[in-house]
Symmetry: C2
Subunit: 207 residues, 2 copies
Amino acid sequence: MHVAIPLYPRFTALDAVGPYTVMAFAPGCTVTFVAARTGPVVDDRGSLSLTATASFQDVPRPEVIIVPGGPGTVEALQDADLLAWIAAAHEHTAWTTSVCSGAFLLGGAGLLTGRRATTHWGWLEQLAGFGAEPVSERVVVDGKVVTAAGVSSGIDMALTLLARMSDVTTAQAVQLAIEYAPEPPFDAGSPATAPEGLAGRALQLIA
Amino acid sequence: MHVAIPLYPRFTALDAVGPYTVMAFAPGCTVTFVAARTGPVVDDRGSLSLTATASFQDVPRPEVIIVPGGPGTVEALQDADLLAWIAAAHEHTAWTTSVCSGAFLLGGAGLLTGRRATTHWGWLEQLAGFGAEPVSERVVVDGKVVTAAGVSSGIDMALTLLARMSDVTTAQAVQLAIEYAPEPPFDAGSPATAPEGLAGRALQLIA
């Protein structure tokens, strides 16, 4: 199974590397980071570059795409080459997926019309602007389109996806390999459980 | 606060990028990826390079170090420059931390003698070989040395650390920003809960 993860300036690193790690540990999976050009792509904090080893043209027909989000989606929504690659790849994928605001890039490629989808809690309702039905769940599967909530949710999404791509035991083996038995020290990861007034502060950190 | 994350060949990407993302979202934190030489460093799967923007010499006194693990720790334990940098940095750090088998590099630098520490479940008992007391917990704090269990545990470690470095509200704001309200689709992330026979399969995926 060939998985492609497109990068663009100011993506959020964990959006990409969470699901990457799940997929890359799975037997028989090859993951390629792709971008407009090969070479390093700088993330949203300006302090980490991941290397794209292939251009969009090099990887026209991956079986799975995982589109990360990040503040750079605002500019990426104007990137005709990126959106065209997503749309064209989707024609042949087994699974077309996104993490966080990567969902807006699926939307920009015209793939969310009439679909249930999710994204980061901070701008969930904006998915309706792409014809999607916003759903406040961590992972939303609608046909072959799978969207995940904010940043860290890509790990849950990738394990869910891997179980469907291969089998439950394989996904569980990867989960155990990466010791994914989370114990967050606080119960503040969702607006539903976070202390009052924290949402504004969290959104400031992202901007 | 200046956080340095050392890279070496065949590190595990999520070990580094999980805590990186937590720290990089925190106000007032600067994170630098360091390595023997600046430039891309290839991970354990061979399919992802993160760029080190500074050499070990460039960053002699970070306030926090986060040492990732990975299959490459076996060779990294023979890397005198890396171990010397860890040992020298530790003299001045506020916090010296590791994820997964990164703990063995702290051990190789002589920092675990007499300390409680943890690492990936697959080789927890081997920490005793470095004079540490192996502890089967997700995050272990012993003085200024903080060790985390396997791969994904670095996120929990970083949030725990951030609350101590700054304050609980800041850590919670980052947790909400990255929507870290995990919902693993299976309860297989720990040997204590995984189906019988899965441990061997998980270890094969890592090797």
